[in-house]
């Protein structure tokens, strides 16, 4: 199942497209010769459509079999893509391998047509919430300013422009009044919004969010999705690891189902079938379409009692 290119929301701005074009050109100088400098999203360059392309990636920890293997996936620009899988499916490993935080066993990762190390300015990562030290005495503004970090330069200080960008980003996630607060005083939802603001301040075009919805109540989760949705509409590609199926079904343009390997990938509505989910989660899950939303029911009893609905798969 390949992602549908037509689903891209609005694409990016002309400037984004041009800068990504330039980036693509560095990676593939031959094709660049034929393309005018300002041509946005030239159709003969399918790579331009993708913020992230992963080919045949395998990664894991030494002394263990690879946690993920044979991973091929694509994240189009301007789309919110849900990466779903059970605990231990390798979602975090995949993120870390994509970002180069762990060394892949094999495979290739391209962001905007370039190796990841050369596209760092365009990428932001939100680790799982407990990987961040919330007790460290930094303010909300300090954290958002970290998004402006570009390169290793001794004695560098934040500039006026950095501060303005950080305040604008805070405004966008509605945390301006909290700028001077110590981050540890924030609620769970506010913490995700601070990290999102950091990504915005960075001007990142590709966001990797690891379990951003964990532990959030429905209303707070909704607010966060709204912010992400807005970013996607502005042309940012967002890959969200989650095990919240309803969220992927209702809010993501595309879904990638992962369990050690990619089980399925494509538009959420097409991918989230009972068979795919059963294979991904290794147990029966029911997807119940209700009006314009999809509800996922994880119920052993329901699955056992209505095996016929699932096409008679073997009991999880």
């Amino acid at each position: 199942m390949t992602p549908t290119l037509g689903a891209t929301r609005n694409g990016g701005t002309a400037a984004d497209a041009a800068s990504a074009d330039a980036g693509e050109r560095m990676g593939e100088p031959i094709s660049a010769l034929h393309v005018p400098a300002r041509e946005p999203l030239a159709p003969e360059h399918p790579h331009d459509e993708y913020a992230l392309v992963v080919r045949d990636l395998a990664a894991g920890y030494p002394g263990h079999p690879p946690a993920i293997d044979g991973i091929n996936l694509r994240v189009p620009r301007g789309e919110l893509v849900g990466l779903i899988g059970p605990n231990g499916a390798g979602k975090s490993t995949l993120f870390k391998a994509i970002l180069g935080l762990i060394k892949p066993i094999r495979g290739e990762v391209l962001a905007f047509g370039q190796p990841i190390a050369r596209a760092r300015e365009q990428i932001a990562y939100m680790p799982q919430i407990e990987e961040v030290d919330w007790d460290f005495p930094v303010s909300v503004l300090d954290v958002v300013l970290m998004g402006r970090y570009q390169r290793f330069r001794p004695f560098a200080r934040w500039t006026r422009a950095d501060r303005d960008a950080a305040m604008t980003a805070l405004d966008r996630v509605q945390l301006t009044p909290y700028a001077a607060r110590q981050v540890g005083q924030l609620s769970g939802g506010q913490r995700r919004r601070v990290l999102t603001a950091r990504a915005i301040a960075r001007g990142a075009r590709l966001l990797l969010l690891d379990e951003p919805f964990a532990g959030l109540d429905a209303a707070v989760q909704h607010d966060l999705i709204e912010i992400l949705d807005q970013l996607a509409r502005d042309g940012t590609a967002i890959l969200v690891a989650t095990h919240d199926l309803s969220c992927v079904a209702n809010s993501c343009d595309e879904a990638i189902c992962l369990n050690g390997r990619v089980i399925a990938q494509g538009p959420s509505a097409e991918v989230l079938t009972a068979e795919v989910l059963t294979e991904t989660f290794q147990r029966h899950l029911l997807s119940v379409p209700r009006q314009d939303t999809v509800r996922i029911v994880a119920d052993e009893l329901a699955a056992g009692g209505r095996r016929d609905l699932l096409g008679g798969g073997d009991g999880g």
């Binding site: 870390k96 970002l99 180069g100 935080l101 760092r120 990428i123 932001a124 990562y125 939100m126 680790p127 990987e131 961040v132 030290d133 007790d135 460290f136 005495p137 930094v138 303010s139 300090d142 954290v143 970290m146 970090y149 570009q150 390169r151 290793f152 001794p154 004695f155 560098a156 200080r157 934040w158 009044p177 909290y178 700028a179 001077a180 607060r181 110590q182 981050v183 540890g184 005083q185 950091r198």
Partner: protein, 284 residues
């Protein structure tokens, strides 16, 4: 009134008291700043381990006739790298590994000293601290090391904050996180050496921990914690030294006791205010 002024000023008629005040000022600034990281990054046990490990360097340098302070510095840096390596990739739990590393170093120190039959007052000044015996070269050494530490922290303040708060995103951004994780422990080791001769192996870690812990109960932003820590450390030093001078008790435990008293006051103030320091709250 004149009595009070005399109580405060008279001690400084002595050169050794002037030197003591100077070296305590250097120690207060360095340990206020470094100690803030120690307290907030869970390095308190590392600080204690680094202090004890210096005995190996001190003993080896003493027996082989080298500069004892340089021996302490070498042992501290070596142990710091060992601790950082342990945090990075050892398969035993972090505190277990440090527990083993520092008793090993301390044992080497005691072992080497046991080969000497004679009483060695120079060495005991390192163990218990000898503020009144601080020499001019000691002050110069502390100033140089202290300046180097502060320069490093100032140069890389952005990176250090980033790595302390969110190492994963820091690495994604291109910050050499592993370098800074090692460097931070080495910085703690050097800060220990700065205060070692004056405060002594046994109590030196108190200077790194108590003032920043007290300050953190009262303010929440990093620069303010550092400034308040320095103020607390200076106050403890001066009051402790006067108590020592006038009551004829050992100086470094007097300083530590005063620091502990300040900590208890900070706890009381913090409890009265409630959990959140009110000075930091912004209108929301």
């Amino acid at each position: 009134m004149a009595d009070v002024v005399g109580w405060l000023i008279d001690p400084y008629a002595f050169t050794f008291m002037q030197r003591a005040l100077l070296v305590l000022a250097i120690i207060s600034v360095v340990s206020g700043v470094v100690g803030t990281f120690v307290v907030h990054k869970g390095l308190a046990f590392s600080g204690d381990a680094l202090a004890h490990a210096t005995l190996a360097g001190v003993a080896i340098a003493f027996v082989s006739g080298l500069n004892v302070s340089l021996g302490a510095l070498g042992a501290a840096v070596f142990t710091a790298l060992g601790i950082a390596w342990t945090r990075d990739r050892a398969r035993v739990s972090y505190d277990t590994a440090i527990g083993i590393l520092f008793v090993a170093m301390f044992s080497i120190g005691v072992l080497v000293l046991s080969t000497r039959q004679s009483y060695t007052p120079d060495l005991f000044s390192f163990v218990f601290g000898d503020i009144l015996g601080i020499s001019r070269p000691d002050i110069v050494g502390a100033a140089v090391l202290g300046f180097a530490v502060l320069l490093f922290l100032a140069a890389f303040s952005r990176e250090l904050l980033f790595v302390a708060y969110d190492p994963a995103m820091a690495r994604t951004t291109g910050v050499p996180t592993r370098f800074f994780e090692y460097a931070m422990v080495v910085v703690v080791g050097v800060a220990v050496v700065v205060a070692l001769k004056a405060i002594g192996i046994i109590l030196v870690n108190a200077m790194l921990i108590i003032p920043p812990a007290s300050a953190s109960l009262l303010v929440t932003r990093l620069p303010r914690i550092m400034l308040l820590s320095i103020a607390f450390a200076l106050t403890s030093s001066v009051v402790g030294m006067h108590l020592s001078f006038h009551l004829g008790v050992a100086a470094s435990p007097a300083i530590v006791i005063v620091a502990c008293a300040i900590f208890l006051c900070a706890v009381a103030v913090n409890r009265r205010r409630g959990a959140v320091p009110s000075g930091e709250l912004v209108a929301s």
